[in-house]
């Protein structure tokens, strides 16, 4: 029995869409030029078209490819990526220590079981480690604390 592998199909179509988006944006905004004198738009257009082509090939191949196991997780990636975003959001207004503490505490939630004491202790220990490595040993000019208000 042959069923279309939905995951492969989606992957292929997304790739093709991405390629097409790059190519169309490049055609609309940058000069493509001629083969002899290539403009800045030439490479993106050609590469975007290639990406679209490969995406379509993958999507067609979904008809024959075997189903692969492996679940798609939502909670873990959301927490881990959230930790990175939190760091990016806090580092400039509040300084290094709050950014590390908050992002480390968020990161520990990915485990599923919330252990507040473990999270807080780990956050503090890593703040200290970062201070020792980056500020004391490597002497990077990082602001430790800031209060924007």
């Amino acid at each position: 029995m042959n069923t279309i592998n939905l995951r492969e199909l989606t992957g292929g179509l997304l790739t093709a869409g991405l390629g097409a988006a790059f190519a169309i944006y490049a055609v609309a905004h940058y000069s493509v030029g001629t083969v002899t004198r290539m403009g800045p738009g030439m490479a993106p257009v050609v590469l975007g078209a290639l990406l679209t082509l490969f995406g379509i090939v993958i999507a067609i191949g979904a008809r024959w490819s075997p189903r692969r196991a492996g679940q798609i997780r939502v909670y873990v990636p959301a927490v881990i990526l959230g930790c990175v975003v939190a760091f990016a959001a806090l580092i400039n207004p509040f300084g290094l220590m709050p950014a590390i503490f908050v992002s480390v505490v968020i990161a520990t939630f990915a485990e599923g079981t919330v252990r507040p004491l473990v999270s807080i202790v780990l956050g503090l220990v890593l703040c200290l480690t970062a201070w020792a490595i980056f500020v004391v040993a490597l002497q990077l000019p990082l602001t430790l604390f800031k209060w924007p208000l």
């Binding site: 992957g11 997304l14 990175v84 975003v85 485990e111």
Partner: protein, 508 residues
């Protein structure tokens, strides 16, 4: 006697206190990361990549290289003691290493591995110092057309020979080149895909890209799935580290053959330490008079793959340093580290930066000696490290990634780039797209575009004139053959797999 004076210059460079210190850091971290499961060499190198911005290029490369070959040493420890390969290149070592450990011969296995690794490393270094300058001087005559062809060969070989679907590998190469076009076009000054933002005018940061794709995405995939291993360091009996006379007698041949095999596969684009270790194990089993001993604790089965992967680790630097063409994603990061410092890797590198090239080569010697010293007496420490629970480890890794990305330009935007590539990396995992070809494409992309444009201007837009150049033509022909061969073998494997799946469904 130019070689001798070069070696002396290299030794002088490698022995400066700063370089010695970072060489030690590199191999120490490499061993640590090789031992720890759930974090690979690539993730480690991308995490430490930002530090290299603050170092001299030679020192930076010495440290990154140390991490790279250090993981091969550390990986074997986990393979032998726990039957868990620390990395793909040590996977074969499990087959005979773990049975040896169960027989109480772990000490001998580790000792012979260290000796074999050292021999392989030294062999690789000699091959590197003989061949890299020769290849570089030959390649000095290359024009843009030849460069373009070499890079296409490197990219296609790396994406086609790596495991998984060829089409997906190529897709990722193309996506990598496409992402590299983001930022200011060096030839026309046009800002491409910046959407008016000044932060990306210099292009996307390679360190943020690597940390997102290999660091963050790897963590997302491992959290809650990586169990800390419970090891009792006393459970392994180190009756002796000293191999018996029989062990030594059996190991000479494999060491010699494996280092030759490793050197060959290390230098070829697309293959690398993993392929080298598999092939050398297979060769030893094939030519052995008693193949039935393999899988039950044969010393040859431990020594051969570990010698081969260390030799391959060293010779992987041949195309990277003599042509500027990386054969693997790790080597692409080395190239990236050089480019950050404004050094364009290519055949000129050996002649123009003798301190860098020979200093790096000589640091390999020092690094390999340090590794033997680190690994043999400190094995107990490494084994204890294996039991650090992952749920304490990954927040620390994430913290290092965030600070590392931020510290390059003190920009929160770079941290968001890490976020973007972390997300992309996870999506790619879901759809089974390999991340390594993307990094290769990203590093080589700007060079390919530049050389192709220049070649086409010189050929007055006539592509056939480019192909008719003898070296360019033959390189592109080889590339085409590799592509056809890998597509065909991929199709055959797919057919066999489908037939098997079909059979299983019928049996259900």
């Amino acid at each position: 006697m130019e070689l001798l004076s070069n070696l002396a210059l290299g030794l002088e460079t490698a022995l400066t206190p700063v370089n010695l210190l970072y060489c030690f850091f590199g191999v120490f971290l490499g061993t640590l990361i090789g031992v720890l499961p759930g974090i690979g060499a690539l993730a480690a190198i991308s995490m430490l990549f930002p530090i290299t911005f603050h170092l001299e290029p030679t020192t930076a490369l010495i440290m990154l290289a140390g991490i790279y070959y250090g993981t091969a040493y550390g990986g074997s420890t986990a393979s032998i003691l726990l039957n868990i390969p620390g990395g793909t290149s040590s996977a074969v070592t499990c087959l005979d290493g773990y049975p040896m450990a169960k027989q109480g011969r772990a000490g001998v296995a580790l000792a012979m591995t260290a000796i074999g690794s050292f021999y392989g490393g030294v062999y690789g270094i000699i091959v590197l110092s003989l061949f890299a300058p020769a290849i570089a001087s030959w390649a000095l005559a290359f024009g843009s057309a030849e460069y373009f062809a070499m890079m296409v060969l490197g990219l296609i070989a790396a994406s086609a020979i790596s495991d998984g679907s060829v089409v997906k590998g190529l897709t990722m190469v193309v996506l990598g080149i496409l992402l590299a076009t983001v930022g200011m076009d060096p030839q026309s000054g046009t800002a491409r895909f910046t959407f008016g933002s000044l932060s990306v005018l210099d292009g996307l940061s390679i360190s943020a890209l690597a940390m997102g794709l290999f660091g963050v995405a790897e963590i997302i995939a491992s959290v809650r799935l990586t169990d800390a291993v419970k090891v009792d360091p006393k459970a392994f009996s180190y009756r002796t580290l000293m191999p018996t006379r029989d062990d030594v007698r059996r190991s000479w041949g494999p060491m010699f053959r494996a280092s030759t095999i490793g050197s060959l596969f290390g230098a070829l684009p697309g293959t690398g330490p993993s392929v080298a270790s598999f092939v050398s194990y297979a060769v030893e089993k094939r030519i052995s008079k008693e193949p039935e001993r393999f899988g039950k604790g044969a010393i040859e089965g431990v020594v051969a793959p570990e010698t081969a992967n260390n030799a391959a680790d060293q010779t992987a630097f041949i195309p990277t340093l003599s042509l500027g063409i990386p054969g693997s994603a790790t080597m692409a990061l080395m190239i990236g580290a050089l480019m950050v410092h404004g050094i364009h890797p290519g055949p000129n590198l050996v002649a123009e930066q003798p301190k860098l090239f020979w200093g790096l080569v000589m640091s390999f010697w020092i690094g390999n000696v340090l590794l033997v010293i680190l690994n043999l007496p400190l094995i107990g420490l490494w084994v204890r490290l294996l039991s650090v629970p992952y749920h304490l480890l990954y927040p620390a890794i994430l913290m290092f990634i965030c600070i590392g990305a931020y510290s390059v330009q003190y920009s929160a935007f770079d941290v968001m780039v890490v976020f973007g590539f972390g997300l992309l990396g996870y999506l790619m995992r879901i759809f089974g797209m390999p991340p390594a070809p993307l990094l290769l494409g990203f590093v080589l992309g700007p060079l390919i575009e530049e050389h192709f444009r220049r070649a086409m201007i010189l050929a007055r837009g006539d592509f056939s004139a480019v192909i008719e150049r003898p070296i360019t033509g033959s390189i592109l022909a080889v590339t085409l053959l590799i592509l056809i061969w890998s597509l065909w073998s991929g199709w055959r494997v797919g057919k066999r797999r489908r037939a098997r799946a079909h059979l299983m469904e019928q049996e259900d």
